[in-house]
Amino acid sequence: MTLPVWAWIIVLPLITSPLIYFIGHLGKSRGVFAQRTALLAFAATWAAFVLAAQDLQHNGISKLMVGSISLKFDGLSLLLAMIALVLGSFVVIFSGHYLADEEGQEKYYAMLMAMIGVMIGLGCTNDLFNLWIWFEAMAVTSYLLVAFYKDLPTSLEAGIKYLVQSAAGSTLVLLAIGLVVAETGALNLDEIRQTAESSPALMAAGILFVIGYGVKTALVPLHTWLPDAHSQAPSGISAMLSGIVIEAGLIAMLRSLSALSGVTTLWGPLLMSFGILNMVVGNLMAFGQAQVKRMLAYSSLVHVGYMLIGLGIAFSMRDVIGAQGGFFHMFNHGLMKGLAFLAAGSMLYTLHISKGDHRPLLFDDLAGAAKRYPWAALTLSIALLSLAGLPPLAGFMSKWQIFVAGVDTHNGWIIAVVAFAALNSVFSLTYYAPLVNTVYRCEPSAIVLSGKRLPVVMKLPLVLMALGIIAIGIWPSLMNWLTEPAGTALLAGLGG
């Protein structure tokens, strides 16, 4: 059997993951060996990705049957693969110095690679149970990565909280799959879509999907693991969790819900209500945080809220612009939050970790950091301002597209929701702006003055991501090749 080119984007990371572990064991400096191998693996996966993207553009969606399991490569798969690869590559480059003094680096890179492989697989599946398998595999890799600092009580606490909540959520998904099988007798998403009719059992299944996958997507009130996991994980993993893992949960939820789109018209309003809850609770919790990474973690809730509003519009109105806006924001959020976590991580590294100290990074620690670390400060500020939605940065463009899609529906309720989202976006400045202010306008603190030098290799991903955010902000149509097929794929899933 010859595999289509897109299957290699899943296969390559999964094959190289154990290789990275073994090669890491060969040399004395395990981390360096493992990191170099991971970079090579990324180069190969990127090559496969470029070919797959061209193939999708020219030949359209392609399907593959493995036994009775159906896989397909459509716009959603492309989007998820792109975010995973972009973030993953930057995180691997970044982590070399960040983890230099830690034990078990080869396991870190191997797990990271496996996580990327299973997330791309999650995007490509067209089978309800297979979706759960990828989802569970992603969860297992992320539990281990969150608790990477296995001797720190706080990191273990975050890990077990994450595991318990996520595992309880995934059993709810299994119960939902049971309900769908009992009602429709099918597992293939297309077959379910054709046979699903309005029934209480399928309604319950949809709600269980929302709750089960919602734990991973951090829907309020199922979000309590998120601030702990994001703040305790190594910064590279925080960037991955926030930039892609919660989004992968969202894609899994969208895939399963879109198969049940014939059951009720309430999925759209349900997603939008969770969007509102997420924005409000995320904003209120982020406001007044003293730890930088915790603040960024709560801001992820807010951004999931914006995505849910865009996608909710797509669900209720069969509106492709809303879907594209939601997915555009998903990509931009990956880039912005990834950059924010990596930039904060670079400061955490120079100020605390390089001295062997695993204290959290506080707002006050960063006072006057711009004088000593101009690049880290500049890129952190670009990320924060883009998250707040200031033009002409990427975050503004995607939020704008969601808002425009909402206003274009001419539906009073949706316009009110969108207006409320815009207000929330303005409110978010109240916690982003003080951090930028502290970094630039205060006198350098004693911690900043005694900090170590920031290695050039760590600056590289920061600068590249910041340039990406500015470029997308100025030319938002640059990402149309990614967001348009994703929007179309979701709408096709909804049968619209």
Binding site: S68, F129, I133, E136, A137, A139, V140, Y143, L144, A147, K150, D151, L152, P153, T154, L156, E157, A158, G159, I160, K161, L163, V164, A167, A168, T171, L174, L175, I177, G178, L179, V181, A182, E183, T184, G185, L187, P227, D228, S231, Q232, M285, Q289, R294
Partner: protein, 103 residues
């Protein structure tokens, strides 16, 4: 309601889910928390088999159930590993004493 095998299975699923969530919410011991998660998974496995019986797809759902058992054993192993490591580093398995992360 007549007592058919199907109804017994459905009651079993509901009972196990209820017991699992009740235990998850009330127990304070990490080992017991992992056991409660396992009870929830058993509910899901029973649910899948019952669903296969209802829809006449028993072969499919049986293989799914076996896959679930394998996947969930991995989760249980990691959960236990965390519990052991927490006992070593913190000196307790009580979740009440594990609440340094707040706010």
């Amino acid at each position: 309601m007549n007592i058919s095998p199907l109804n017994i299975c459905l009651l079993g699923v509901i009972g196990l889910v209820a017991a699992g969530f009740y235990g998850l919410l009330t127990t304070r011991n990490l080992i017991k928390v992992v056991i409660m998660l396992q009870i929830l998974v058993k509910a899901a496995v029973l649910g899948l088999i019952t669903a296969g019986n209802i829809s006449g797809q028993l072969y499919v759902t049986q293989s799914m159930a076996i896959t679930v058992i394998v996947a969930d054993t991995i989760v249980a192993v990691i959960g236990m590993a965390f519990a052991i490591q927490i006992r070593r580093q913190v000196g307790t398995l009580d979740t009440n004493e594990l609440s340094s992360l707040r706010g």
